[in-house]
C-alpha cells in the first residue's frame, strides 16, 4: 500500500466540479484548503500503476486541471509491515 499526497492545481471556476468528481473515488480522500485554485488529496494505491493511472487518467485529464503532482509518499505499510489498524491516537 502506497499512501500518496497529491497536489492538484485547478482553474478556480472549476474547483468545485473537479472536487466532486475526485471525491467519488473510494481510494481518494480530499483535504480541504482555503486556496481556491488548489486541491489536496490523499490517494491510497495498491500499486504504482494505480498511482500513475490515477494521476494521469482520473486527475490530469479532467477539464480545468492545470497540474497534478505527488508531493509525498509513504510505503511504511509495505516496507516495515506496520499494522494498519494500530491506534496512534485514542
Amino acid at each position: 500500500m502506497i499512501i500518496a499526497g497529491i497536489l492538484v492545481t485547478v482553474k478556480e471556476e472549476k474547483k468545485a466540479e473537479i472536487k466532486d468528481v475526485l471525491s467519488s473515488f473510494a481510494e481518494v480522500t480530499i483535504y480541504e484548503v482555503e486556496e481556491t485554485d488548489r486541491i489536496v488529496l490523499v490517494l491510497e494505491a495498491k500499486s504504482r500503476k494505480e498511482l500513475k493511472n490515477f494521476v494521469e487518467r482520473e486527475i490530469a485529464s479532467l477539464a480545468g486541471v492545470i497540474n497534478a503532482a505527488p508531493a509525498y509518499t509513504n510505503s511504511e505499510l509495505d516496507i516495515l509491515n506496520s499494522k494498519e489498524d494500530e491506534l496512534i491516537l485514542n
Binding site: 480522500t29 483535504y31 503532482a69 505527488p70 509525498y72 489498524d85
Partner: protein
C-alpha cells in the same frame, strides 16, 4: 480523536502536501491535519536529492526503524518546490529489493562465489600491479557513471590519471551527453548551460527537439505545463519523429523524418535571416562565424544557409515548408523570449555536436540568449552527469573543472593540487567509451573497473563488447546483479543514494548535498571507500589521505576556484538546497556570460570561454545518419525511455509497483506500417539489423506513435537487450554513439 496508523499516515501525507503547496487547511479534517503536524510519522528526516534523472529534485527522506519509508519533495528547493514525479515518489522501494548485493563475490570455477573484502581487494590490487608490470598502465581502464557522487568520481579520476598514470577513464555520460558538451564548448568555449530552470517561467516560446520531456523529465515538464496553462499565450514547438506525450501540450508538432533535424534547424535559420528576424546588433557585437574550422564572414554564412530554403528541404525533412516558416517566425519573434530544450534525440547521433551547434545558432542569430526566458538548455539524463563527470572531468580527455589533458598548463595546475609530477598525467586523451570496450575485445585492455553502471546492457552493438568484457579481468561495483555483473570476475557490493553522503550536480549547474540517512545493507560500502582502499593497496596512501567525502571535496574545490566553475565549501551545501555555480564571494550565479549576474563579466554579454569573448555561429551542413534505411533494411529503429523505468531498470525493476506497471517491453509501430506488415497489437515482430535481432510484441496504439517508417523500442528490458541491434557508430567530435538511429528490417515472428 481516534487515529489508526493508516489514517495517521494519510493525514501526514495531506499535511506534507499542504505544507509543500503553502496552503491553509480548513474543513472537517483541519484538526486532524494540524494534530499530526506535531507527531512525526518517521524517526527523522534527512535532506537528499532524487537519484534518477538529471533534474535534481530535492527530496526529504523519512527514516523509521533504520529504513527509508517515506519521501517528500523539499518545498524550499527551487527545482521542484515540494513536488515530485511518480518515479521519484517511489524512491524508497528501490533500496529494498530481495537480491541486493551485500557481500563481495569472486568468480571461481566459472561461478561467482562469496568472498571477504580483503580477499577481493587484494585480488584486484595484485592483478593491477601484475598488468602494469607486464603491459603498462594503459592496459587498465575505468568506466564510471553520472550516478556516482562528485567525491567518488574525483577519487577514481585521480587514481587512474594521477596515480596509476592512464587516461583510460570513461563513464556512461559519454553515451548520453558528450555531444551537448561538444556543442557548448565549441560554440561558447565553456561547457554547461548559461540559463537555469527558472527561465521556464519567463519563456514565451519553448522549442523542444529530440526530447520526450513528459516521460524523461516529468517535473520539468510539469513546470512547462503549469506555465503554459497559466499563460495561454505561451507556445510550445515540439520536433520529434515520434509523437510522444510531450506533444500533448504542443502548438506545433513537427514529426520530421528521423535524422534530418540538421536540415530542419538550418532551414529555420534560413527563414530567420531571410525575413529579417535576426538581432543584427547582437550578431555584430557577440559572434563570429566558422565553417569546418575556418573563419567565415556573415555574408558567407548567408550563402551557406541559402541551400536550406524550406521549399528546398521540405521533402528531405518530411514536413510542409509552411510549418518551417511558422515555427521559425515564432522562435524568432522579437517580442518573445524563447527557451530551447533537447536531450538524447539530439545528442546520440553521429553529428550530435553539430546538431547542438545548430540549436545554439538559432539563439545567437536572434540574440535570444543570456536573458530571462531565452536560453538554449540541454537536459541531462542522470542525477550527476554534470556534477560528477563534466565538472569533475571524469572522461578520458578531461581534467577537473572543465580542463583538458592535452593542455600543458591544465596538467600542471591539476598536478600541483594532486601533489604529483605533471609528467605523471599523460598528455594524450585516453580511450573513449567505444574504443575502451573495443580494447577489451582486442585484448589491449587487460582489466576494467565498472562502477555504478551497466555497460553489459547499455552499449550499442552489444554482442562484441559483452564478449570483450568476458575476456578482460572485469570488476563491477554495484547494488544489484545485472547484465554486467554476470560477466564480472569480481563483484563489489556498493552503498547507494542515502546510504552514504555525497554531492550531486544537476543540469542547471546546481550543486546539492545528499545526507547519509541509513546504513548500507550487509557489507556494502560507499564507492569512495572502495576507491580509496584500492589506492592504498596500490601504494598511493599519500595521495589519498581522505577520511570522507568532505575531505575529497575540499581538494576538488581547489581545482575550481578562479575557473568560472567555482564551487562553494562543503558545509554550505549541507546547509542549503543547492547552489548554482560559479559561486564567487559566497554568491551563486543564476545566469552566465552576462553582467549583473555573472561575476566574471563586467559589462554586457561576454562569452569569455573564447579569448575574444564571442560565441561562434557554425555552418554545419545536413548530414544523414550513419545507417539510413535501404531496400534491405527499410525501417529506422530508435530507442528511449518510458516514465515507469530508468536506464537498465536495475533499480526501478526492483520496485514491484513499477514492474507491474510496465512488465513487458514492446516495439511501437505506426498503424500504417502495421497494416502493411499485417501485424496486430500483441503480434510478435522480429527486428533485424546488420548486428543482431530481437523479437518483441507489437504495440500499435500505445502511449506514443512513431511516424511511418520508424520503430521505437524502450531501452530498459534486462532480458531482451535491444542493444544487440543498435549501432556503435559515433560522433567524431564527442565520440557519442548514435543510439537513436539505425536501419532494420522486420518480420512477423
Amino acid at each position: 480523536m481516534k487515529l489508526s496508523r493508516r489514517d495517521f499516515l494519510k493525514s501526514a501525507a495531506a499535511a506534507a502536501t499542504i505544507m509543500a503547496a503553502g496552503c491553509t487547511p480548513r474543513g472537517k479534517r483541519r484538526d486532524e491535519v494540524q494534530t499530526v503536524q506535531d507527531i512525526e510519522e518517521v524517526d527523522r528526516w534527512e535532506k537528499g536529492v532524487c537519484r534518477f534523472c538529471g533534474t535534481g529534485c530535492g527530496a526529504m527522506v523519512g527514516v523509521k526503524d533504520g529504513k527509508v519509508v517515506a519521501v517528500k519533495g523539499s518545498e524550499d528547493n527551487p527545482v521542484n518546490e515540494g513536488l515530485f514525479c511518480v518515479k521519484g515518489s517511489l524512491l524508497p522501494a528501490y533500496l529494498y529489493g530481495e537480491d541486493r548485493l551485500t557481500k563481495p563475490l569472486i568468480r571461481r570455477d566459472g561461478e561467482l562465489q562469496e568472498a571477504e573484502w580483503d580477499e577481493a581487494m587484494d585480488l584486484i590490487a595484485n592483478k593491477f600491479e601484475e598488468i602494469i608490470d607486464e603491459h603498462g598502465a594503459d592496459a587498465l581502464g575505468f568506466y564510471g557513471s553520472g550516478q556516482c557522487n562528485a567525491s567518488e568520481a574525483y577519487a577514481y579520476n585521480k587514481l587512474y590519471k594521477g596515480a596509476i598514470g592512464t587516461n583510460n577513464v570513461e563513464g556512461n555520460p559519454r553515451t548520453c551527453m558528450a555531444s551537448a558538451v561538444g556543442g557548448y564548448v565549441t560554440t561558447f568555449g565553456k561547457d554547461e548551460p548559461m540559463g537555469i530552470y527558472a527561465d521556464f517561467e519567463e519563456a514565451d516560446v519553448f522549442f523542444i527537439i529530440g526530447s520526450n520531456t513528459a516521460e524523461a523529465h516529468p517535473v520539468l515538464f510539469n513546470r512547462i505545463v503549469k506555465h503554459k496553462r497559466e499563460n495561454p499565450d505561451v507556445k510550445v514547438i515540439v520536433a520529434d519523429p515520434r509523437l510522444t506525450r510531450t506533444g500533448e501540450i504542443a502548438d506545433y508538432y513537427l514529426t520530421f523524418k528521423p535524422g534530418n533535424d540538421l536540415a530542419l534547424m538550418n532551414s529555420m535559420a534560413y527563414v530567420i535571416i531571410n525575413e529579417g528576424l535576426t538581432d543584427e546588433q547582437f550578431i555584430e557585437d557577440h559572434t563570429n562565424f566558422n565553417s569546418d574550422g575556418e573563419d567565415m564572414s556573415y555574408e558567407e554564412f548567408k550563402e551557406f544557409i541559402a541551400d536550406y530554403a524550406p521549399e528546398d528541404v521540405a521533402d528531405l525533412v518530411g514536413i510542409e515548408a509552411e510549418e518551417i516558416y511558422e515555427v521559425a517566425r515564432l522562435f524568432a519573434d522579437p517580442d518573445k523570449e524563447t527557451t530551447s530544450l533537447w536531450c538524447m534525440g539530439i545528442n546520440q547521433r553521429v553529428r550530435g555536436v553539430w546538431a547542438n551547434n545548430l540549436i545554439h545558432n538559432l539563439h545567437l542569430l536572434t540574440g535570444k540568449i543570456c536573458r530571462p526566458g531565452s536560453t538554449p538548455f540541454s537536459l541531462t539524463g542522470q542525477p550527476s552527469a554534470c556534477g560528477s563527470i563534466r565538472e569533475v572531468g571524469a572522461l578520458s580527455h578531461l581534467l577537473p573543472a572543465h580542463r583538458v589533458v592535452d593542455n600543458e598548463q591544465h596538467r600542471q595546475e591539476i598536478a600541483e593540487i594532486w601533489g604529483i609530477d605533471p609528467d605523471r598525467i599523460q598528455p594524450e586523451p585516453g580511450l573513449h567509451t567505444i574504443s575502451l570496450f573495443d580494447a577489451t575485445y582486442t585484448g589491449d585492455i587487460k582489466a576494467l573497473f565498472v562502477m555504478c553502471t551497466n555497460p553489459g546492457h547499455t552499449l550499442p552493438n552489444l554482442q562484441r563488447y559483452r564478449e570483450g568484457m568476458e575476456r578482460t579481468f572485469l570488476i563491477v561495483s554495484d547494488i544489484y546483479p545485472n547484465r554486467t555483473t554476470e560477466l564480472a570476475d569480481v563483484v563489489l557490493p556498493a552503498a547507494t543514494w542515502v546510504e552514504k553522503e555525497g554531492i550531486y550536480g544537476n543540469a542547471e549547474r546546481r550543486t546539492q548535498h545528499i545526507a547519509k540517512a541509513i546504513d548500507p545493507p550487509g557489507e556494502a560500502k560507499p564507492d569512495l571507500e572502495i576507491v580509496v582502499d584500492l589506492a592504498h593497496r596500490l601504494g598511493y596512501q599519500d595521495l589519498f589521505p581522505y577520511e570522507g567525502p568532505a575531505d575529497v571535496w575540499a581538494e576538488y574545490r581547489q581545482t575550481t576556484l578562479g575557473t568560472g566553475m567555482d564551487l562553494a565549501p562543503y558545509e554550505r551545501y549541507k546547509q542549503e538546497h543547492g547552489l548554482l555555480w560559479p559561486v564567487v564571494d559566497g554568491q551563486e550565479t543564476k545566469r552566465r556570460f552576462v553582467a549583473d549576474y555573472d561575476p566574471y563579466v563586467e559589462e554586457g554579454v561576454d562569452f569569455y570561454g573564447h579569448p575574444d569573448g564571442r560565441a561562434i555561429i557554425f555552418a554545419r551542413p545536413h548530414t544523414p545518419p550513419e545507417e539510413p534505411p535501404t531496400e534491405e533494411y527499410p525501417y529506422t529503429l530508435t530507442t528511449g525511455r518510458v516514465v515507469e523505468h530508468w536506464h537498465t531498470s536495475t533499480m526501478t525493476g526492483r520496485i514491484p509497483q513499477l514492474k507491474r506497471a510496465f512488465p513487458e517491453h514492446y516495439v511501437e509501430v505506426n498503424p500504417e506500417d502495421a497494416e502493411k506488415l499485417g501485424v496486430n497489437e500483441g503480434d510478435m515482430l522480429k527486428i533485424i539489423s546488420r548486428r543482431g535481432e530481437i523479437t518483441l510484441p507489437t504495440k500499435i496504439k500505445g502511449r506514443a506513435e512513431p511516424r511511418p517508417g520508424l520503430l521505437f523500442v524502450p531501452m530498459h528490458d534486462e532480458e531482451k537487450l535491444i542493444n544487440f541491434v543498435t549501432i556503435d557508430a559515433y560522433d567524431p567530435g564527442s565520440k557519442q554513439p548514435e543510439y537513436k538511429l539505425c536501419a532494420v528490417r522486420v518480420e512477423k515472428a
